[in-house]
């Protein structure tokens, strides 16, 4: 007799939505009309699946540990990316650069006087080969429009309160140039290994809307805070 399984399979959505049908239909028609091939699509999809923020976190951690590497990262982000396993030119399915276009990567170094933060005011350009997919809020017209006008206020909405005398520098991405923030290494982490450091460099730290913290790792469970003023006798 077969042993009973000790765990259940993860639940799945067992229903085909109209959106899934639409996505498939659009893709199939585009392929049949010769706009791209099924093989092109497969390569782009495989590439999209392989993207994640980890290589960028390693780049930052390596720059904190190794002054020579930091110099290279600030001079030539594309070349520095190679050392953390990302080839912007040849890894991309286009074979001549990133999907969307060939791009340049500029690494922006934060200092005690200057905090960098990245936006794409025109659309949603993002250093995907090294930082993965952009978060949904990065795509919103709200973030794109307001960050350039009121950066200090927008950052405070992310919970990042900066001293009034610290300058905020907003960099606007485009199809030719992408940006990655190199935040300052937090105090108390001087003896950490590169792997340990990489764990505290989260995606948002590299967009510039958060600062790395020794107690907050990229794979931590989402924090749950008790309400400061809980609603009492709430019957609804």
């Amino acid at each position: 007799m077969a042993e009973e399984h000790s765990h259940k399979a993860a639940p799945m959505v067992d229903e085909v939505s109209d959106y899934e049908v639409l996505e498939t239909a659009v893709r199939e028609l585009a392929i049949e009309k010769g706009l791209f091939s099924a093989e092109d699509h497969r390569r782009f999809a495989e590439y999209a699946h392989s993207l994640g923020p980890l290589p960028a976190a390693r780049l930052v951690a390596k720059a904190w540990k190794d002054p020579e590497f930091k110099k290279l990262a600030l001079e030539d982000g594309i070349k520095a990316s190679l050392e953390v396993g990302v080839d912007w030119i040849n890894d991309a399915p286009t074979g001549f650069g990133t999907p969307s276009d060939y791009t340049d990567l500029r690494v922006l170094e934060d200092t005690p006087q200057v905090k960098h933060v990245v936006v794409c005011t025109l659309c949603s350009c993002y250093p995907r080969p090294i930082l993965g997919h952009s978060p949904e809020w990065y795509r919103t017209p709200n973030y794109r429009r307001r960050l350039v006008r009121w950066p200090r206020q927008v950052l405070s909405e992310f919970g990042l309160q900066l001293p009034a005398d610290m300058d905020i520098r907003v960099e606007d991405s485009n199809q030719k140039c992408r940006f990655l923030v190199l935040p300052m290494q937090p105090e108390g982490t001087e003896d950490w290994s590169e792997e340990e450091l990489a764990q505290i460099v989260t995606r948002d730290c590299m967009i510039g809307v958060a600062l790395p913290h020794p107690d907050r790792k990229a794979d931590d469970p989402r924090p749950v805070h008790p309400a400061v003023h809980p609603v009492e006798h709430h019957d609804h």
Partner: protein, 118 residues
């Protein structure tokens, strides 16, 4: 007055039907107890957008995104991402004559049958 009656309908009846009747990923997740933030077709959609920008450049990314932004605040304003992205893509492609609506409607019927076949 319901919010639906204030919504500007899509100029494409096929897309309007998806907008008004299609089930959102968030609702499906609730029903089936799934926590994945993205539907299974999300990265395939992304690959389609990239492939349209590459090669023959049938639909450049900047134009597509600009139209998506516009449609996301008007015709498809009541929808979350990535549902509105796929509607905006189909909308932009039909506006350009890259695909036509009758073909799309027919293909959607075929795809629905195929994906639901057992």
């Amino acid at each position: 007055m319901s919010t639906e009656s204030q919504q500007t309908p899509s100029s494409f009846t096929t897309l309007e039907r998806v907008r008004s009747e299609g089930r959102l990923w968030a609702d499906l997740c609730d029903q089936y107890g799934v926590e994945n933030p993205d539907p299974p077709w999300r990265l395939s959609l992304e690959a389609t957008c990239e492939a349209l920008n590459a090669g023959t450049c049938a639909l450049p990314t900047l134009e597509r995104r600009s139209e998506e932004d516009e449609l996301a605040t008007t015709v498809y304003a009541d929808l979350p991402f990535p549902e509105r992205q796929v509607l905006a893509l189909a909308h932009s492609m039909m506006e350009r004559g890259l695909i036509d609506e009758e073909q799309l409607a027919n293909r959607m019927n075929e795809v629905e049958k195929r994906l639901n076949s057992v």
